[in-house]
Subunit: 141 residues, 2 copies
DNA sequence: TAACCTGTAACAAAAATGGTTACAAATCGT
DNA sequence: ACGATTTGTAACCATTTTTGTTACAGGTTA
């Protein structure tokens, strides 16, 4: 598995919570569907909890969504599982040579362009709700 | 340095090639501006070369752009330095449980949403040329 | 009280990334 | 022709990130 699959797993978890709204889903049960270790699930639910997307009780199974699936977007989820919100999609090399015209201004120039690209990506994520995802999952085309 | 700064360094390199078009820029010289090891520079120039964005000659300093800066976009550069073009921006967890309604379809559903987000990002990158970057670098607002 | 669960720390394993050394082969200037 | 310089590339190390795993304290439930 390359990169960071927390985002994907978070969507998976939230989808399960919606479909099994009545049942008490333990991290063990969720881990079976995701096919990973329960601690991995608890870690991600912890991030969703701290971001205010779900509510949990220590010792009791079954996280609860704090919003309707129609009001929860992929962008909300994306931010929730980013541990450093300031860290952009693209990394910029540090310490370019300040004595070079290019090195002096490359970082600011890159930041401008990268930021626009990231914003475009985020705008797209903000237009897909968890409800939309449920549609795609439960009724695949 | 977090993540992957090859993209940023590639833009830096190409910007240097444009500003010093007459001079023969060795990887040593470029490395001084980027502030890294010359081998790192040669590796990235190698990727730009294989992608057809520059031309180089073994043993002779000075890569040459194969297109005008007005016709080279950030998206071209982005693709050039991705070693696995099939690898998306967001990772999707492998082997979800096929016996679960969610696990069964989550991958396809995620793929659809993630692909749209990535496309939006790429569209933005495709609208910025190396020439635009030179403007931002040489004449900062 | 016994069984179960969460939250979290601690650690291992694997992968990605960047930096470094080394060196063969190509080129250039004289 | 020769020596200096350069590219291209392999090999290796260190660091960081991510995931998986074990362990356990403390809360909850029947």
């Amino acid at each position: 598995m390359t990169g960071n699959s927390r985002f994907a797993v978070a969507v998976h978890i939230l989808s399960l919570l919606v479909t099994q709204r009545d049942e008490r889903l333990s991290s063990d049960r969720i881990a079976e569907s995701v096919n990973t270790n329960p601690v991995v699930i608890r870690r991600i639910i912890g991030m969703l909890n701290r971001a205010g997307l779900v509510q949990t009780m220590p010792g009791v199974a079954g996280a609860r969504l704090t919003r309707l699936p129609e009001e929860l977007t992929l962008l909300d989820i994306y931010w929730a599982v980013q541990d450093d919100p300031k860290e952009g999609l693209f990394a910029i090399h540090e310490h370019p040579n300040p004595d070079c015209p290019v090195g002096q201004n490359i970082q600011a120039a890159l930041q401008g362009a990268f930021c626009r690209a990231q914003t475009a990506m985020e705008r797209e994520l903000s237009q897909v709700t968890l409800s939309d995802m449920m549609q795609a999952i439960l009724f695949p085309a």
